[in-house]
Symmetry: C2
Subunit: 212 residues, 2 copies
DNA sequence: TAGATTGTTAATCGATTAACAATC
DNA sequence: TAGATTGTTAATCGATTAACAATC
């Protein structure tokens, strides 16, 4: 079982947050043991798929009984890399940036929003949802000082590439990009795209297929 | 070429918003003709994949030349069902709901935010980003009156299922769900999940795989 | 042991891609 | 015609699922 050689399919990784979601709920309800069939029904997938996904991480279940909720929850958090706290900075203190700064879901998953960066002088020096707002010019200095790792891009599409360049230069390791644009970054930088418009357009497509 | 019988792969549909993004940019830049290779490089996919995807919608390109930007853009908008304007309501006027109410990207894609629904009496009767805030109790009445079709759920996870039930009962046809929970709804209701935590956790996974 | 559910296999299904004939 | 790029084929690759032996 050599860690480095285990190849986890992309499709499996993409479902781990879903499993985390379901297991967290069972945990809160005080349920300590669940079958693959129960979890699968809750999530609208097949139990085969769930068992296959979990099998990549070794035998986590108990034959004849099911899965121990606490145990599985811990293992999934471990696989997702949630043991270690990560420090984020939000670039762009507009509506979306402000909303994310105060979003409790991040804190709950070990993600600490440590700084906001802006060019609007009216906002610089204030605090939004308890997070200090710095001038964009201080990006490099504050990144080192605060140990920032993940940059959340909530700037207009037209500015996104330039800001991405600054973020890379400042030493960030990953970008969570809300701007509806593909970024060009060095290949050692991790980019996660979060295009809200793409999501709702998929919905619109299904809607018009159904209703015309 | 019978419209009703064309089966478009899910993977292809999921990439259409991406193509829309790239083509809109070419259009704004005044570029009228692009090759599959150019678009593919911009988006970080193979040109084969792009041509295969587009082939499901009939011959849209010009052999030896490439694709006419305006023509292709129009066709993709058509396929995504963007000709018709859609009316949305945001349920939950918290930080995220407020941010989405003022998000220009929705308007730009023919999505009109017509109403916000809340239980907080302090917000009811006011307008947020020009959108009137109604009490949740008026959901049914206003849905019919305003011709609302898509409900955007920006309520806490604990309230999401109950609100979803109300939304279905009120006559909405689709739900864009930001609450980190799977919803149980009748099968004629379209649900698009937009789990922000899932997105950032995927990023954290890649980050910890790379850095430990 | 009897009942239940996992972990795994093997078949099936769907998506991606290289290659090239068609054709502008 | 010569050059270029599409649309399509067929091979490859990866993901899903039904079925069942393993085992609690």
């Amino acid at each position: 079982m050599e860690e480095g050689l285990v190849v986890i399919p992309k499709a499996t990784v993409s479902r781990l947050p879903l499993y985390l979601q379901a297991l967290t709920e069972y945990d809160h309800l005080g349920i300590t043991l669940v079958s693959s069939e129960e979890i699968a029904q809750k999530l609208g997938i097949t139990s085969s798929q769930l068992r296959k996904d979990l099998s990549y991480f070794g035998g986590l279940g108990i034959r004849g009984a099911g899965y121990d909720v606490a145990c599985l929850l811990g293992r999934i958090k471990e696989i997702l890399g949630m043991q270690k706290k990560r420090r984020l900075a939000i670039i762009g203190a507009g509506k979306l940036g402000t909303a994310l700064a105060g979003y409790r879901g991040l804190q709950q998953h070990g993600l600490e929003v440590k700084a906001l960066f802006e060019i609007d002088k009216g906002k610089i020096g204030t605090a939004i949802a308890g997070v200090p707002v710095y001038p964009l010019a201080e990006l490099h200095a504050q990144t080192a000082r605060l140990g920032l790792e993940i940059a959340v891009l909530t700037v207009p599409a037209a500015a996104a590439q330039k800001v991405a360049d600054l973020v890379v230069e400042a030493g960030f390791k990953a970008i969570w990009n809300f701007a509806p644009i593909r970024l060009e970054v060095p290949e050692n930088i991790i980019v996660q795209y979060e295009d809200l418009v793409a999501g709702v357009l998929t919905l619109v497509h299904h809607l018009s297929r159904k209703l015309g």
